[in-house]
Symmetry: C2
Subunit: 204 residues, 2 copies
Amino acid sequence: MKHFSLKDINALEHLYKINLINSCSGFKSANLIGTKSKSRIENVAVFSSITHVGSNPPILGFFCRPTSVTRNTFDNIKETGVYTINHIHKNNFEEAHHTSAKYDADVSEFDKTKLVSEYKNNCFAPFVKDSPLQMEMKYVGQYKIKENNTILILGEIQELYINNKILKIDGYIDLAEAEVATINGLDGYAFPKLKKRLDYQRPK
Amino acid sequence: MKHFSLKDINALEHLYKINLINSCSGFKSANLIGTKSKSRIENVAVFSSITHVGSNPPILGFFCRPTSVTRNTFDNIKETGVYTINHIHKNNFEEAHHTSAKYDADVSEFDKTKLVSEYKNNCFAPFVKDSPLQMEMKYVGQYKIKENNTILILGEIQELYINNKILKIDGYIDLAEAEVATINGLDGYAFPKLKKRLDYQRPK
């Protein structure tokens, strides 16, 4: 096996290092976060760190860096308290990836891609049309991660919309059947095939 | 589309709710965390919340609930400051899933499954043998998530071991080629196929 110590990692060339360290946590979620500024400029951006934090209340988290391309998303969430999470699909992953380009705050990524914004149920932030799973989120808290100056943003699910076909009788959402993407590293888009659902485990 | 409001979600039957909310963040990483208590009892447990937090320094995070089955992992990390992260593979995902059973702290899941512990480079915590990607982690911080009484644990990569075949020339690790699992919800194990790596994006 190839072996890297922390010292080796710290000495790596920048692009090699970010490819390596972004790949090594495993497969990541692939989502578009939709927001709108108070001055009504829409924003949509790809995120691969959206993580389940708890079901009761239903809370999801993600990490962002206020100094990077994700700054517009962060600013809009702090200004308005609302955002949407939309799963990336086989049909739009290339358009979705383009939202990682560094556009100024006065440019909407909806105008620069084929992604289409959609509004429903009085949600202030835009959804991404035709996403098989869309959520309206309410900002509920943030934690400054002092180890590397990132911020963990927590939101509570307010409204959840799911393509009927992929919602199973026990509440399971079949993301593979939905052709939802997963991200490998910074730029690899992969599509999973469900192998097996396993039973609840008890001690042998 | 099927629509659930927050009120609908809160009123759902428990199992339906946890299936639904655990599925809705997207595909999740599939890892085994290896630890050992001061009294030298090994522990290995499946986690689906391990997330990239930053590359410089190389930090990964995960969420745990100190009152649940993940308590042994949490206690051992706090006691010893060290743990391992090992990717779940097509050949061991059923054994890996069994580590979610609630065993007492004096029982090692290595004794209850076909998973085999492995030691290298003086790491106090056990690795999972034959995992295509193994990391030795140093605990660097924790954040109490007051919204639902979970804890975000942060660790810095100390040593990284990767199957040579899946490490590409630019530092990208091909997790699909490695047959690494991704988790859908609580119990769905899926295996992705890489569709495409996309270029670094600049404004059009």
